[in-house]
């Protein structure tokens, strides 16, 4: 990643952190109330809504094209190749996966013990022993998962997913014109070149509302 893009990413991070401060009970209740979310930006009404089947299909198609495009580019590596490269530098991602699986198994065993102890109405200090162990494991799993995600951030697969996510955000955003909802941008390029604040705002709502939908898109 270049210094310029690092600075840009930091700027976006700061803006998104600002937006994150808006997340409270009322905000979440509004997200839950419907499968679309209306908001205003510079006096214009916008909305994001759940992607339709057709939009998902279009996004799939674009994702596939992006995958092939990156595959043809020597500067990008597949996850498997990236893993090999990391291994040469002493970072074993498969080993990370094994550690995560082992920790998950340990957590499952402890969950069974804690669940049984709860059913048997054991004392709180007894429950707390299991609880604290599970908490420690959860923290370890989280750290390892973050490490793995960060290491694979620049793989072709990950970059393709980020592209899909951005493309869907573009597809599901509409604006109100003469009481009718129309596409907010005429093209993906227009979306990419529009106001950074608006893109951040749209991405924020899309992430809050549809993150899981996008994962399974």
């Amino acid at each position: 990643m270049t210094n310029k893009s690092k600075v840009e990413e930091k700027k976006i991070q700061e803006k998104l952190s600002e937006l994150k401060k808006n997340i409270d009970q009322t905000f979440v209740e509004e997200l839950l109330a419907n499968n679309e979310k209306e908001f205003e930006y510079k006096g214009v009404a916008y909305r994001i809504r759940r992607p339709t089947f057709k939009e998902r299909q279009e996004a799939y198609q674009k994702r596939n094209e992006k995958f092939v495009e990156l595959l043809k580019n020597d500067k990008y590596l597949l996850e498997e190749d990236l893993k090999k490269l990391y291994k040469q530098r002493g970072v074993d991602i498969d080993e990370l996966d094994k550690k995560i699986s082992l920790l998950q198994k340990q957590r499952n065993d402890l969950n069974l013990k804690l669940g049984k102890a709860l059913e048997e109405k054991k004392s709180e200090p007894e429950l707390k022993i299991y609880r604290d162990e599970i908490e420690k494991i959860n923290e370890q799993i989280e750290l390892l998962s973050i490490k793995k995600t960060n290491l694979l951030e620049y793989s072709i697969e990950r970059q393709t997913f980020i592209f899909l996510y951005t493309y869907l955000t573009y597809l599901i955003t509409e604006k109100k014109e003469n009481d009718t909802w129309v596409k907010a941008w005429n093209s993906f390029e227009e979306f990419q070149n529009c106001s950074e604040d608006l893109v951040n705002l749209v991405s924020f709502y899309a992430a809050a509302m549809f993150q899981q939908d996008f994962v399974e898109a």
Binding site: E9, I12, Q13, L16, K20, I23, D24, Q25, F27, V28, E29, L31, L32, A33, N34, N35, E36, R50, N108, L110, N111, L112, L114, G115, K116, L118, E119, K121, E124, L127, Y130, R131, I134, E135, N138, F161, I162, Y165, S203, F204, A207, A208, M209, F210, Q211, Q212, D213, V215, E216
Partner: protein, 115 residues
């Protein structure tokens, strides 16, 4: 860059546990109160909310039946552990039942009388 918003899920879970939403959820079928404006095309967040409502309904029921103490609601780790244990216990019982049925069927077949 993809923004992770775990806080949204945490608050959704907290809402599902609240008396207010539990009451609405419990009565939604009987008196037709709607939880969402949309009837279909639920978002994954809405589906998560429904799962959480159902999870807490089951926990509150177990507490009222005396199967577990209220302490289970004190901590998310307690809740998850208890529900995980219950799921595994139920699966084990179902397997046991299936095996018993299978061995019962094979027993009848082996000793079938000539017609």
């Amino acid at each position: 860059m993809i923004l992770k918003l775990d806080e949204v899920f945490k608050i959704t879970s907290k809402l599902a546990k609240s008396n207010y939403y539990q009451t609405i959820y419990g009565n939604s079928k009987d008196i037709g109160i709607k939880l969402f404006k949309n009837d279909r095309d639920l978002t994954k967040l809405q589906v998560f909310f429904l799962n959480e409502l159902s999870k807490y309904q089951s926990l509150f029921l177990d507490i009222s039946l005396g199967e577990v103490d209220e302490i289970v609601l004190k901590d998310k780790i307690y809740e998850e552990a208890y529900l995980y244990y219950k799921r595994k216990k139920r699966a084990k019982q179902e397997d046991k039942f299936k095996n018993a049925q299978q061995s019962k069927n094979s027993f009848q077949w082996i000793f079938r009388r000539k017609k």
